[in-house]
Symmetry: C2
Amino acid sequence: MKNPTIVDVAKHAGVSKKTVSRVINDESGVKPETRNKVLASVKALNFTRNPFGLSLARKRSFLVALIYDNPSPSFLVGLQSGITTACQARNLGLYIHNCDYQSASLVDDIEQMIDRTMVDGLILTSPVSDQQPLLRRLRERNIAFVAINPSDDSQGLSVRVDHFSAAKAMTRHLLDLNHQRIAFIKGHPDLFSSIRRQAGFREAMTESGITIDEDLVVQGVNNFESARIATQQLLQLPQRPTAIFASNDEMAVGALYELNKTGLKVPEDISLAGFDDIPVAAHVWPPLTTIKQPFGEIGHTAASMLIEQFQHKNRKNYHSSNLINGQLILRESTSRNKA
Amino acid sequence: MKNPTIVDVAKHAGVSKKTVSRVINDESGVKPETRNKVLASVKALNFTRNPFGLSLARKRSFLVALIYDNPSPSFLVGLQSGITTACQARNLGLYIHNCDYQSASLVDDIEQMIDRTMVDGLILTSPVSDQQPLLRRLRERNIAFVAINPSDDSQGLSVRVDHFSAAKAMTRHLLDLNHQRIAFIKGHPDLFSSIRRQAGFREAMTESGITIDEDLVVQGVNNFESARIATQQLLQLPQRPTAIFASNDEMAVGALYELNKTGLKVPEDISLAGFDDIPVAAHVWPPLTTIKQPFGEIGHTAASMLIEQFQHKNRKNYHSSNLINGQLILRESTSRNKA
DNA sequence: CTGAAAGCGCTTACAG
DNA sequence: CTGAAAGCGCTTACAG
């Protein structure tokens, strides 16, 4: 009843276990005849290679770890889906680890996880991907990793969305609709994406010759509640904005909620735009104009880069940065300003 | 530069490796003096136990696998969070596997995953937890698993939400608001939760002496789009319902969208209720009356039961079923029927 | 309370 | 093209 091992297969096929090893690893230089004999025995005994023996000998876990801290559900699920697709194609597994990026023991926490699993590589999401002490330590220990949306992509592997250009395109869209008093709800200050989106907004405004009214630029922290507060703040202004651009969809939904509550109509009274294209964006009323971030693609690209690196063992200062474009999605929450 | 092994620690401490093994495994019967010597060497060499050696000798991976097929993001993230909390407390890791529950090769797919990782146990989400050929095979191979929301909880480990009572409570809430023509949008027919929620709805209606108008019971498949279609269907009826109870929040949001589009006001023209309490439920306008499913608790309970079982090796026909209550959350999408 | 030997199931390095 | 030996880093079973 015990699982058959490579030795059982060897006996059954009348060869040495080294030959069995060669066959199951698809190494060249085995006589076709011998190979077939082994393959037949593998099938007959229903043999599957024990992963622990493999890992011990090869010093590899065949596992990729995804590290995150409290991301939005849609982002996480999209990411995981892209990653598992990339992993399953190469017979690698996905290990999940959530952490607290602000914790003083972040480095220890991650190192412990690594020591306990010996994962082949890490995928770090923002803002974990910005914790320099952690990145330093990983480089010291020569542990492969890819950073998603890091502030600094000058070293190692990274995948980023072009938040800047996308935010600029969205702002232009609002400008084209004759909006001038455009409010911007900023995202969480620790996120690279927040900084770049704001920069894109500012550049589009400036390029079109508008001096930004700083009262219209308010702080949020990427969640619903913060956007409600930010929106209340905007609505108390002596002169209301004609459009609001929120740094992510969850905040746009928060703004929409507050506008609804106040009795203002979107887009008739005020236009509203978000960023991310999470499912909700298309499900609220009116559906939101936003920027689509291809979460699945981000995950797939990150995983592929990472795997490419540790499979080929060329780790020495390998550097590669991948930029992915967001896409403007026009829905019904933005319209021409008639003022 | 190589990682120190148990042998290095043994040399450093002047003991045998077996003694080191005893100490790091917290076995009793080591002289305190010896123990301290070993502990000092562990610290001095910065030793961490290699997981592959451990796994090979113990024939355990110290990994729990979560198996799912396309769940709602909020559900998955909540579940993962509860599971990782339970796992991290016992130094276990979480492995992620998504699958296609309708695939003909589901059993092979899962078995391959098991053979490749030798996970200690599986957490199966609905409707994977209802695939009898898979469950049979897992029992045959004596692989520990816990089923979340299975239709049949007569064997093995399971965690279920009391969908029936919760749906009944929601229906009563609508009845108490003087609604009689209550529509029900059914969930995906393959899900146990859908069946039980519908049954709860029916029982509450019947108990209050109402004969259900079957035109008001329409099919959905748990997603936004299906609920839009179902709602259109309801609105074309000669006599409109005064309230709609959707089997989950995503469908309630779909209904809300369609009502908005038609120009009907919630709850003034029609009341609306959902089920799940995903974040969106509180973020749409008006915020939805719904049933809160404690996703984190479900994950935590499932993981704890599973771990309890395989840690104690008392696998023989162990049976335990855990029922978790949903909670009625009253928000602004339901109000008294004035007709 | 401690240790020497054998074993877990693979691969690596070498020999022929 | 194939195999015997040693090794990966632990634990189990046994002896003292």
